[in-house]
Amino acid sequence: MEPLKYHKGLVYPLNRTNVDTDQIIPKQFLKRIERKGFGQFLFYHWRFHDDGSIREDFSLNDPKYQSASILVGGENFGCGSSREHAPWAIEDYGFRVVIAPSFADIFYNNCFKNGILPIELPNEVVNRMMEKSSSLPYHLEVDLEKQIVSDGESEVSFDIQSYHKEMLLNGWDEIAVTLTYEEEIDQFEKNYEKGVKTLGIS
């Protein structure tokens, strides 16, 4: 995974609450067995008509957001299914940071495994960002080390678990990290699997 320490980019505001993973990536695109190439299907039914032509009225199709890499969304962003295709699509489209007042748990977790930084900020801060970015080009600087988001005029700090932070800063392969605990897992299993055997799958 690509490490992420600092990111500066153009903001795209998506002013909707409860954006669910079925909207982020509709199910017909979940059949692929690859991890890449989902960006073209991001928000598919919002971006395209049924015949595949572009919906001019959907903001992400506005040329002014073409190079956006920071998505600002509403409450409960990423609710719904556990499909990691959602962060894959967001990342593949070109977003590295998602800011919202709140996230759904599984989506939030999935972001970190894919080099995306999800940032929770208070409602009024998010609303101000929405407003500013809806008319003129609006850029934000995100410093993960210092846990600060800045638009050049004002700064706001954000919370993040240190484990998640380390993971992104270092671009860790989480499995490799866990495998350094392999002996502990072995030991755990030895103690744990005494007594009645409860699972018979073999």
């Binding site: 909707r16 609450t17 409860n18 669910d20 079925d22 909207q23 509709p26 199910k27 017909q28 979940l30 059949k31 692929r32 067995i33 690859e34 991890r35 039914h45 049924d50 409450e75 409960n76 609710c79 719904g80 299914s81 556990s82 499909r83 990691e84 962060p87 709140s102 759904a104 748990d105 599984i106 977790n109 999935n110 495994k113 894919n114 678990q161 240190s162 484990y163 392969d173 989480e174 499995i175 866990t178 495998l179 605990y181 392999e182 502990e184 897992i185 755990f188 299993e189 744990y192 007594g195 009645v196 055997k197 409860t198 699972l199 018979g200 799958i201 073999s202």
Partner: protein
């Protein structure tokens, strides 16, 4: 005496492999369920790094999301076909037990786990699917994970997890006649919204919950994720023990008795403290119908579609307007005036034998309305066989329903079972998101009984007018 503990504390403490300040705990995973949609990239990841599946004996796979429910072997969509073949190849290569499309154990992953007795109290259970919360009905800690975590569990049989907060949803009293477990959970989400559970594991308690059968408990826990919760569970009791007795993967004889005692001991202690508690009374719950595009947008069947103009400024007026427009409804329209073209009885929420029985009781002797296409999709092959053994298929077929093979089907419309754009479906599934049952499709979530009644009448009706729904005739 030691501090009273919740069931979540007890399960958690038994599964911590490694603990450190400032870090999530490394949690041991007892059972990993796998399906075709969220696993291919995980197996591919293992292959690329030359890693193995650590515990194939704690891993069980099936095919459910993509499988055709009609003409079982005609998979028109080549990409679906490839996904299923990929699962088969991966399971062979990594030694994972697979109930594939031809296997007698095939079915929706959250239906077969409990049915085979793989799902047991006190276990940590994960699956690359958000409705893994279903298994919490047994007093297991069961939650959905993403594909990277699927790979992580395959490789290490563990996950880094922060200890969740706990939330008690306590429901006193008895559910009225004709009011189901589905109505109970819809009413809870209707009142508290789609994110009250975020960051929490919900434990459902109280008389109304205790009185539910195991299959009803699964319906309730299944939809915990629609409240944003990490998981939902119910402390084990005699109902749990009796349901599991004799299941295939559950030990027998003395071993079973030993285990059963351990299970009962897992129940939350008297006086255990939750981070939050919500109360409701069963009397307040009526048969529910969703009118909008998330499960909290629901009302009792006798009520009306809300009016955005009558809403407070602090409410999500935009969201409500958008939902009403997408759903093709009018503000203040009565729910009973909504006509439907499709009925879907199925999904991991409501496709078990008791669900089909209850729907069949309503359907018996009736006829599907001429404007309606109605399908019944049993949750697993074994549910299908059991239903056929008692003649439920005949009741449905005689009334004009289609009787299909097991799978997720129209719950998410990844196979050919799709609601066309602009058409309306009464569905026993769990999500009414935009496009969930097909692009432009309009979904109304209801109980199996309500769906069955809607099929007969071509519109929503209060199922309590059917004697068979309220315990009569």
């Amino acid at each position: 005496m030691s501090q009273p503990q919740t069931i979540v504390d007890k399960i958690w403490n038994k599964h911590v492999i490694h603990k450190e300040e400032e870090k999530p705990d490394l949690l041991y995973i007892d059972l990993h369920l796998v399906h075709e949609v969220t696993s291919p990239q995980a197996f591919e990841g293992l292959r690329m790094k030359q890693r193995n599946v650590r515990r194939p004996d704690r891993t069980f796979a099936t095919m459910d999301h993509n499988v055709p429910t009609k003409d079982r072997h005609v998979i028109k969509d080549l990409v679906s076909k490839k996904q299923m073949e990929t699962l088969k190849r991966n399971c062979e290569e990594f030694g994972v037990r697979l109930a594939d499309i031809d296997h007698p154990d095939q079915g929706i992953v959250h239906v077969i786990g409990p049915d085979l007795g793989l799902t047991q109290p006190g276990k940590t259970i994960v699956c690359g699917d958000s409705h893994t919360s279903t298994h919490g009905a047994f007093g297991a800690l069961a939650f959905g994970i993403g594909t990277s975590e699927v790979e992580h569990v395959l490789a290490t049989q563990s996950l880094w997890q922060a200890r969740p907060k706990t939330l008690q949803v306590h429901i006193d009293g008895k559910l009225g006649a004709g009011v189901t477990a589905k109505d109970l959970i819809l009413a809870v989400i209707g009142r508290y919204g789609v994110r009250f559970g975020t960051g929490h594991v919900i434990e459902y308690t109280g008389e109304a919950v205790r009185n539910l059968s195991m299959e009803e408990r699964m319906t309730v826990c299944n939809m915990s994720i629609e409240a944003g919760a990490r998981a939902g569970l119910i402390s084990p009791d005699e109902t749990t023990v009796e349901y599991l007795r004799g299941k295939r993967y559950v030990p027998e004889g003395e071993d079973f008795e030993t285990l059963a005692q351990e299970w009962l001991d897992l129940a939350s202690d008297e006086g255990a403290v939750y981070d939050q508690t919500l109360h409701m009374h069963a009397d307040e719950i009526e048969p529910q119908v969703t009118w909008g595009t998330n499960p909290s947008q629901c009302v009792p069947v006798g009520a009306k579609v809300p009016d955005p103009e009558a809403m407070g400024a602090d409410e999500d007026v935009d969201g409500v307007e958008r939902a009403i427009e997408y759903m093709g409804l009018q503000a203040n329209q009565s729910i009973e005036s909504i006509e439907i073209e499709h009925v879907f009885i199925g999904s991991c929420t409501n496709s078990r034998l008791s669900d089909l029985r209850k729907a069949a009781e309503i359907v018996q002797g009736g006829r599907v309305h001429e404007n309606v296409t109605a399908i019944v999709v049993p949750g697993s092959k074994s549910v299908k066989e059991a239903a056929e053994a008692e003649g439920l298929d005949t009741i449905f077929l005689t009334a004009g329903f289609e009787w299909r093979d097991a799978g997720c089907s129209m719950c998410l419309a990844m196979n050919d079972d799709i609601v066309p754009p602009g058409e309306r479906c009464a569905s026993t599934s769990n999500r009414n998101f935009e496009g969930r049952q097909g692009n432009g499709a309009r979904t109304h979530l209801v109980s199996p009984e309500m769906a069955a009644a809607a099929a007969l009448e071509g519109k929503f009706v209060d199922v309590r007018k059917y004697a068979s729904a309220v315990g009569g005739g």
